[in-house]
């Protein structure tokens, strides 16, 4: 069933209190509650590159700092860089006087038209590689710091372990009670102690030399005030922060940025620890192994046509109700009593009192000519406007009691739900019937003055 990405007029209440359209909600089959993306637990399946769709294990991604090694982003606008080829006349290797055309490659952004030539990089002779990463100017210092702190951390860890075993050895009864474990303890203690003894004889690794603080620097050159500022030659702050090691102040020093990896994630309900959404491992595939989107299980209400509203006047609004499950459902619409929160309700709604029966969602109905005898439903023509396959249109009277603003209505929807998950576990063939209740908020538009 198609949904609109930005149209959030009909919203369901999630258990965490947020109101979201059903395309953004998940239904936990075991606790039978609606969950949204914010109140579930996200788990990382695998990182992948959004451009080349390369899957990589999380450890490899950590090594590469969560960046793809082959794909680059434009440093100015962030779009993916495309490799383009040009033909250049290069003196051939056999005969220096003649020149043969050779294919040279450069990268260009199709959005802001930045090219690697703008950054001063020479064209490469291979199409897929060769773009070297510049080394961090502070790499040496960072490495010495890391090494010295790593050795200090190791020593501290060994000291901690030594203290632990020293304490245990003081309990004299401990060793005698458990004959075998005392032998094991001796084995454990010995190698640790031997390490420590080696370390103690070794001299302490020299601490890295401290960088002396800068105390004196040249004053501001007076040219800053008289020189014309060329704004196109200066980088934006966002450009500089994309390359934090270099932070180039001039646009001619901007280099292509490695593309950031995205993460394929699976969602898990916090209360019952079952998976709500588990996509396929391959980043190319859009299928799901487990897909429990609320849209596929809960009847969906949609506004059928816009209507004009005026204060204290009754307007008839038609809604469609569609049933996505493979079993027919009965829907009851109940008003909410006593809640006059103006934020969510600015109109009174007169809902159909009788139960609405929805037929099951039949995929083969698309191919039907309509000759097949449909299930007979006794519909009150004042309430049910039309009925087709698994859809139903019902009319409700809306009376806004606010003078201006948006017309919002809220009511409860109770429907039958046949839990297919529980059925698999139990021995019964019939899935158990449960009644689920949801609170629905609908925004019908502005009041016409």
């Amino acid at each position: 069933m198609a949904t609109f990405m930005d149209v959030n007029l009909v919203r369901y209440l999630c258990t965490c209190g947020k109101r979201l359209p059903p395309c953004r909600l998940y239904l936990c089959r075991h606790c039978l509650k609606l969950r949204c993306a914010d109140c579930v637990q996200h788990e990382v399946d695998s990182p992948y590159c959004p451009n080349c769709l390369e899957n990589m294990p999380a450890s490899e991604a950590k090594l590469k700092k969560n960046r793809c090694s082959n794909c680059f982003d434009c440093p100015i606008c962030g779009h993916t860089l495309m490799t383009r080829a040009t033909s250049q006349m290069v003196p051939s290797s056999e005969d220096p006087s003649k020149s043969t055309p050779k294919k040279m490659y450069y990268m260009a952004c199709s959005f802001c038209r930045w090219t690697t030539r703008d950054g001063g990089l020479a064209d490469q002779s291979t199409s897929n590689g060769g773009w070297k990463d510049e080394e961090n100017p502070e790499a040496k210092r960072i490495n010495t710091l890391l090494e010295s702190y790593r050795s200090i951390a190791q020593r501290e860890k060994a000291e901690k372990e030594r203290k632990k075993y020293v304490k245990r050895r003081s309990h004299a009864g401990f060793q005698d009670r458990y004959g075998l474990t005392s032998v094991a303890m001796k084995w454990k203690i010995q190698p640790a102690m031997s390490n420590l003894s080696v370390k103690e004889t070794e001299k302490v690794p020299p601490a890295p030399e401290l960088v002396s603080p800068v105390e004196d620097f040249d004053p501001l050159p007076s040219e800053i005030f008289s020189d014309i500022v060329q704004l196109d030659k200066v980088t934006y702050l966002s450009h500089r922060l994309n390359a934090p090691e270099f932070q180039p102040p001039a646009t001619k020093d901007l280099r292509p940025v490695h593309k950031h990896l995205l993460v394929r994630r699976s969602l898990r309900c916090r209360e019952c620890d079952h998976n709500l959404s588990k996509p396929d491992f391959n980043p190319l595939s859009i299928k799901f192994k487990i897909q429990l989107i609320a849209l596929n299980h809960i009847p969906e209400i949609r506004i059928m046509a816009p209507a004009t509203f005026s204060v204290n006047k009754e307007t008839v609004v038609t809604f469609t109700l569609s049933n996505p499950s493979v079993y027919s459902t009965v829907v009851k619409l109940l008003p909410i009593e006593g809640d006059t929160d103006l934020d969510y309700m600015t109109a009174k709604v007169d809902l159909p009192k009788s139960d609405l029966v929805l037929a099951l969602h039949d995929d083969t109905a698309v191919y039907d000519d309509g000759t097949k005898a449909q299930q007979e439903f006794k519909d009150d023509p004042r309430v049910v406007v039309f009925r087709r396959a698994n859809k139903l249109g019902f009319a409700a009277k809306v009376t806004p009691f606010c003078k201006e603003g948006e017309v919002k209505v809220s009511f409860m929807m109770k429907h039958e739900f046949r839990n297919t998950a529980a059925a698999i576990q139990s021995e019964d063939k019939e899935p158990k019937l449960e009644w689920l209740e949801h609170r629905i908020f609908i925004n019908l538009g502005r009041i016409q003055l």
Binding site: C112, R113, W114
Partner: protein, 185 residues
Amino acid sequence: MAAPNKSSVKIAPGAVVCDECELIGDITIGARTVIHPKARIIAEAGPVIIGEFNIIEELVHITNRFPDGAEGKKNSQVMVIGNNNVFEVGAQIESTKVGDHNVIESKAFVGPQVELTSGCIIGAACHVTTGEKLPENTVIYGAKCHRRIQRERPPAQNLQIDFLTKILPNYHYLKKVSKAQSPPK
């Protein structure tokens, strides 16, 4: 009101102008320029002179509009378009001076006060209406019309022009090339 002026279109030899395009007014088209069908060139307020090696794609509206308040004065302003420009699908140009090697991307709008020099790229759906002469090699991109200066002008489209010159006559009728005029004495 005088009778509607006869469309006087001078097409240089080598230009490929499809018959389904609308050419109204005094228009001069240079050699090796390709005009796709459904392009509209309307020389309302004066003649339009288009240079060589240009590509004018479908649904491009090149209009030499009357400036505000000067309705009715024929031949008041001349619109000059240089060489090697590319006008992508749906672009609307009302600027009176367009230089060389510019690229006006799809659905862009260039207002009458703008003057494009050379090497400029007006990004897709960008509306440029400020009254200024854009410096060379300017790139305007994005919904907010960000600007930046390129190092070099956009690459030439000669390959595309050769391809179109070969293929378009196979599928479309072309307007006839006007005879070479005798030089004025």
